[in-house]
């Protein structure tokens, strides 16, 4: 029972909260109303219904407590009614009449009742939800008079008010804009590129017509164009932002995953000239991150651009405080990359695509907003391509960090303790150095030993080889098989010689 009650309360509270929010949206605060409504002397805030933060908390707390109390009561009443309904149905079936004395019986049925109560609530709410959805799906009909959201309403009112100041030209513009929106309704089936082209054509035509026919001075034209963009894009947003026909969403998820995988990148690796230890700087960094994340919540391309510009200004401030000189592009881009990595802004690719497709082109190509937008595009392209080389890391280190095996932060001596004094930091650094030296010394010793062993092995090897060869080819000293030819030996050739002269006796 407690559980079911809790459910009810939560549900009611959240519904109350929602209604509170939508009420808040409509409040306009005048100059005189800037102070806290309670008169405590502090400034109030429209987000706090005109109270200062302290009074608002008190008021809100009170209201909330009351709300919770009421909701509890309501829940209890509902519970009771439910029980009675259940009991009467039981009694109608002739089972028994429910009295508080039959407590045991009640308890056994409790489970089923709880389920039905909760179910009833949820089915009711879901039915309401689906009804709303149907309504909304029907709403965007070509007749732009039918509005769906408060914001669209407000924007069109503002647009009409704005155009009133231009009399005839204003009427003409309103007609054209209406026609364009109706035409766009029938083009919803077309590819997003074609829709983008239509919108760009429209921007161009309207601007040209204003100058040629309406003779509107250029600076006025620019203002009117901004209003037109605001008006039409507030309406078209939900059909052309991250449309299902494109793979924008896939790209969003891809870059988000990529940024998450790069969580270990430090400012040092990117050579970011920002020192976050200075409180002012870290404040700027936080603001920049908030701005870039906020971009997703805007509907009008120009408002999205304004978020990027705001973010960029904070980055410039952060660099200026750190370096004591104005930042150049060489400093700015790495810092923007760092901010994007740190912030991981939602639907980044969709936002970039949407701005590129539907922003007034003159804003993108030139102008300060265009410059910062281009830088953001560069940052995203860089993050997509980022590799070991661009962070001055070895491929092995990069792979290890990407796979999550190690984190560079753990290895850095700075992260031992951020509050450690310089001496301790130095000591850790020295220890680090010593261990590195130690390692190197060991390596040298090992190498030396290996060399020694190699030398010994080599001499042994040579000796063995020589031995083998000696064994294989033993040195035999054979007696000379032919003694030097004896002068007095038998000689065949001697036969050819003429017979030796015989002594002859001559008579005489």
């Amino acid at each position: 029972l407690m559980l079911s009650k809790h459910f009810l309360v939560c549900f009611l509270v959240s519904r109350k909260k929602m209604s509170l929010k939508s009420e808040r949206r409509g409040i306009h605060v005048d100059q005189s109303e800037l102070l806290c409504k309670k008169g405590c002397g502090y400034y109030g805030n429209p987000a706090w219904q005109g109270f200062c933060s302290k009074c608002w908390r008190e008021e809100y707390h009170k209201a909330r407590q009351k709300q919770i109390q009421e909701d509890w009561e309501l829940a209890e009443r509902l519970q009771r009614e439910e029980e009675e309904a259940f009991a009467s149905s039981q009694s109608n079936q002739g089972a028994q009449s429910l009295t508080f004395s039959k407590f045991e019986e009640k308890k056994t049925n409790e489970k089923t009742r709880k389920v039905t109560t909760v179910k009833k609530f949820f089915s009711a709410s879901s039915r309401a939800g689906s009804k709303k959805e149907i309504h909304e799906a029907k709403a965007p009909s070509p007749s732009i008079n039918r509005q769906t959201s408060i914001e669209t309403d407000r924007v069109s009112k503002e647009f009409i008010e704005f155009l009133k100041t231009f009399h005839k030209t204003g009427q003409e513009i309103y007609k054209q804009t209406k026609l364009f929106l109706e035409a766009m309704h029938y083009k919803r089936e077309l590819s997003i590129e074609e829709q983008s082209e239509c919108t760009q054509d429209f921007y161009q035509n309207v601007a040209e017509r204003m100058q040629a026919r309406g003779k509107v001075p250029p600076e006025r034209v620019e203002k009117i164009m901004d209003q037109i963009e605001k008006y039409i894009m507030t309406r078209l947003y939900k059909y052309v932002f991250c449309p299902e026909t494109t793979d924008d969403e896939k790209k969003d998820l891809a870059i988000q995953k990529r940024i998450r995988a790069l969580h270990w990148v430090t400012p040092q690796m990117l050579c970011v000239p920002v020192n976050e230890e200075i409180p002012e700087v870290s404040d700027m960094v936080v603001k920049a991150i908030t701005d870039i994340i906020e971009m997703d919540s805007k509907r009008v391309p120009r408002d999205k651009l304004a978020c990027i510009t705001k973010c960029s200004k904070h980055i410039f401030n952060a660099i200026k405080i750190t370096k004591n000189e104005p930042a150049s592009a060489d400093d700015f881009l790495p810092t923007l990359i760092y901010i994007v990595l740190k912030g991981n802004p939602p639907r980044l690719q969709s936002n970039i695509q949407y701005i590129t497709r539907f922003c007034n082109p003159s804003r993108l190509m030139t102008g300060e907003d265009g410059y910062y937008f281009t830088n953001l595009c560069c940052a995203v392209a860089f993050i997509e391509k980022l590799d070991a080389q661009s962070l001055n890391l070895s491929q092995e280190d990069f792979d290890r960090y990407m796979s999550g095996q190690t984190s560079p932060r753990k290895q850095e001596s700075e992260s031992w303790s951020p509050d450690a004094c310089l001496g301790v930091k130095q000591m850790y650094k020295n220890l680090d150095l010593l261990s590195q030296l130690n390692e190197r010394q060991e390596r040298i010793m090992n190498e030396a030993k290996k060399l020694e062993k190699d030398l010994i092995d080599w001499t042994d090897g040579i000796a063995k080889e020589v031995q083998d060869i000696v064994e294989k080819y033993p040195l035999e000293i054979k007696p000379p098989n032919q003694p030097l030819a004896a002068i007095d030996s038998e000689n065949v050739e001697n036969d050819k010689l003429p017979p030796p002269l015989q002594p002859q006796v001559y008579a005489g």
Partner: protein
């Protein structure tokens, strides 16, 4: 932001100064930002950035007409080279800056030129080669002739400057502005040839007499 200033907003409308986008390209620390800062600083009409110096605008008088230069500084570090082509979109002019004391930066400028050629048709953008830091003449590694020869063979405007001494800085930007306004009239009418003519007559000659 930038639009909240006294000068008329940047729109290419008749009677208004035409807006031209000029990108500064070159390796890191060749003095791109210093050049732009030096150029913009001396002019009271230009909007001095309060925090950063990466984006500047300046109205330039060329003869009777005036045009508005929008100067986009770019990150020159090697690692960003692959993404920097994104800065080129919609550019009308480019300043290829190198450091005369660093040969490497001169080679890099040539690489930038090749990148530009990939994105634009010949003559679509006005390109000027700028050798900066000539105050460091002792350490010079790239001679005036080398720079000039490269510029002439690629039909670029050429000038040597010193942002530190404010030497030839505004002349460089004015030369680009003049070229832009000349081309502005007849877009696509063999602007490449015009560039060569200007190169031979205008800034180069002036630059030569100022070079040591």
């Amino acid at each position: 932001m930038a639009q909240a200033h006294g000068t008329p907003p940047p729109r290419a409308d008749p009677g208004q100064p035409c807006v031209f986008k000029l990108v500064l390209l070159g390796s890191g620390s060749v003095g791109k930002s210093s050049l732009a800062l030096r150029y913009v600083k001396d002019d009271f009409r230009s909007i001095l950035p309060t925090v950063g110096c990466a984006f500047f605008t300046k109205v330039v008088e060329v003869g009777a007409s005036s045009l508005k230069l929008e100067i986009w500084d770019t990150a020159g570090q090697e690692k960003f080279h692959s993404v920097c082509h994104l800065y080129f979109r919609g550019a009308n002019a480019a300043l290829l800056v190198y450091d005369v004391t660093k040969k490497e930066s001169f080679h890099k400028a040539q690489q930038w030129l090749r990148d530009l050629e990939k994105e634009f048709r010949p003559g679509e953008v006005v390109v000027m080669l700028v050798g900066n830091k000539i105050d460091l003449s002792e350490e010079r590694e790239v001679t005036f002739e080398e720079g000039k020869e490269f510029a002439e063979s690629n039909r670029l405007l050429f000038m040597e400057t010193s942002a530190k001494l404010n030497h030839q800085v505004s002349e460089a930007f004015s030369a680009v502005a003049r070229e832009l306004s000349q081309r502005g009239g007849g877009e696509g009418q063999a602007p490449g040839r015009d560039a060569a003519v200007v190169l031979n007559e205008g800034p180069t000659r002036r630059a030569r007499c100022c070079a040591h």
